[in-house]
């Protein structure tokens, strides 16, 4: 690279950034005109290295190569392990959002334990997403950009198997399918 190569500035900015950056933010930070070209160039340069340039939902960041996980994880504390209830609740929020607590409970067949949603909110993956305008005005929940970041998703459309589940009708509103079962099962 030559000293005035614009890719150098984009590379440095991404390297120093505390959060993923959009093309616009990069252009503003570096004054580089064609940020996209620089990003393509950098991504290519890092293709085989221990660090890679990735993009999720229009925001770019450097991260360590996925195949080196075993080396890097060794030294670190395992991040919060989610309980099974936590994992299921997170999946339900992600695939059904916005979703109320009652709807989560209807799918799981059990009450959502106090602390399950709290843990997900505290992890920065789930947020309250307004009230539903039905009797009782229940609060709904949805995922956050931090959720997409953590799981390496560009958007909710990238959720694994989303299209198949939708095609199979498994993401349909619950009351249409299960209201009868609920009246039996929910009491359960």
């Amino acid at each position: 690279m030559t000293p005035d190569d614009p890719a150098r500035a984009v590379e440095a900015a991404l390297f120093a950034a505390e959060a993923p950056m959009t093309v616009d933010a990069l252009a503003q930070a570096t004054g580089v005109a064609d940020v996209s070209a620089a990003l393509v160039r950098i991504q290519h340069d890092y293709a085989d290295r221990g660090i890679t340039l990735v993009e999720f939902g229009g925001r770019w960041r450097f991260q360590t190569a996925a195949d080196l996980a075993h080396i890097l994880r060794r030294e670190r504390e395992e991040p919060r392990r989610l309980s099974r209830a936590g994992v299921e609740t997170l999946a339900i929020v992600a695939y059904h959002e916005p979703v109320s607590r009652a709807e989560i409970e209807a799918i799981r067949g059990v009450a959502v334990a106090k602390g399950t949603l709290d843990t997900l909110i505290e992890a920065g993956w789930v947020r309250p997403a307004g009230r539903r305008e039905v009797p009782g005005r229940p609060l709904t929940y949805a995922t956050t950009p931090g959720f997409l970041d953590h799981f390496g998703l560009a958007s909710r459309r990238d959720l694994p198997g989303l299209d198949e589940l939708r095609a199979a009708g498994l993401l349909d509103p619950l009351d249409a399918i299960t209201s009868e079962v609920e009246s039996g099962g929910d009491a359960a």
């Binding site: 120093a16 991260q63 991040p79 799981r108 198997g161 498994l170 039996g184």
Partner: protein, 244 residues
């Protein structure tokens, strides 16, 4: 339908999050594809399991027993000759239970797939100590010279010893009131209210002073026999007249 109670399943309530959780596990024992499970067989499996669960704590068991009752009802409805009037249709109920299990299974699967992704902070790592690109906002304080000296004036004014000087107020002295009233009596006054004899205008403080002085002047002139006054009752207007 005569499947033995599944020995692979722990006979303990604690192992399951609830009846639906157990039902899903039982269903998975039947088939990999939940769309092809036998609901009747599932009902029997569930009821068998419940019978063998000896450690059933009553307070925990309520949910399980309600589900058992519902499943027993579903089973009988499915076995009885088809009643076209049955509402809801048992076939539909069975289908809905199946869908519900599929939904839970789908979410369980989705959760597992999410957790298996290359997760930031577990599998892939961001830069450990980024320098940061943040914009540092430095406050630039602003104040004008006027603000400054006005503030000083306010401070000094506030803290200066407070001197109470009673300002000279506009009053009508008794001498002035006497002179006025005497002059009016000369021109003849008959049954006029005292107030009507006061000069018009002036601020309220001055009018009060004029009224008080004129009242005293009236008393003085009455004492000298040069004026008569009357009042019909307490607080009624004072009426003044010349003594001819």
């Amino acid at each position: 339908m005569s499947d033995p109670a599944p020995e692979t399943l722990t006979v303990s309530l604690d192992a399951w999050e609830g009846p639906l959780d157990l039902l899903l596990a039982l269903a998975r024992e039947q088939k990999v594809d939940l769309r092809e499970i036998s609901i009747l067989q599932l009902v029997d499996q569930y009821l068998d399991w419940l019978r063998s669960a000896e450690s059933l704590k009553l307070e925990v068991a309520a949910d399980w027993l309600v589900m058992a009752a519902w499943l027993a009802y579903l089973k009988s409805a499915l076995l009885l000759p088809k009643d076209p009037e049955a509402d809801p249709d048992p076939e539909l109920l069975a289908l809905r239970l199946q869908r519900r299990l599929q939904q839970l299974d789908a979410m369980r699967e989705a959760g597992a797939r999410l957790m298996a992704r290359d997760r930031l902070g577990r599998d892939v790592f961001p830069r450990g100590a980024p320098e940061g690109l943040r914009l540092v906002r430095r406050p630039q304080w602003q104040a004008s010279l006027f603000d400054l000296i006005a503030a000083y004036g306010a401070v000094r004014a506030r803290s200066a010893p407070v001197l109470h000087v009673v300002a000279r107020r506009p009053v009508m002295t008794l001498d002035m009131a006497l002179a006025r009233l005497e002059a009016m009596l000369g021109t003849g006054v008959d049954n006029a209210t005292l107030v009507s004899l006061l000069p018009p205008g002036g601020d309220p403080a001055w009018r009060r002073s004029a009224l008080a002085s004129s009242f005293v002047a009236m008393l003085e002139l009455a004492r000298q026999g040069r004026l008569a006054f009357a009042q019909e009752e307490a607080f009624a207007p004072l009426r003044v007249g010349s003594v001819a």
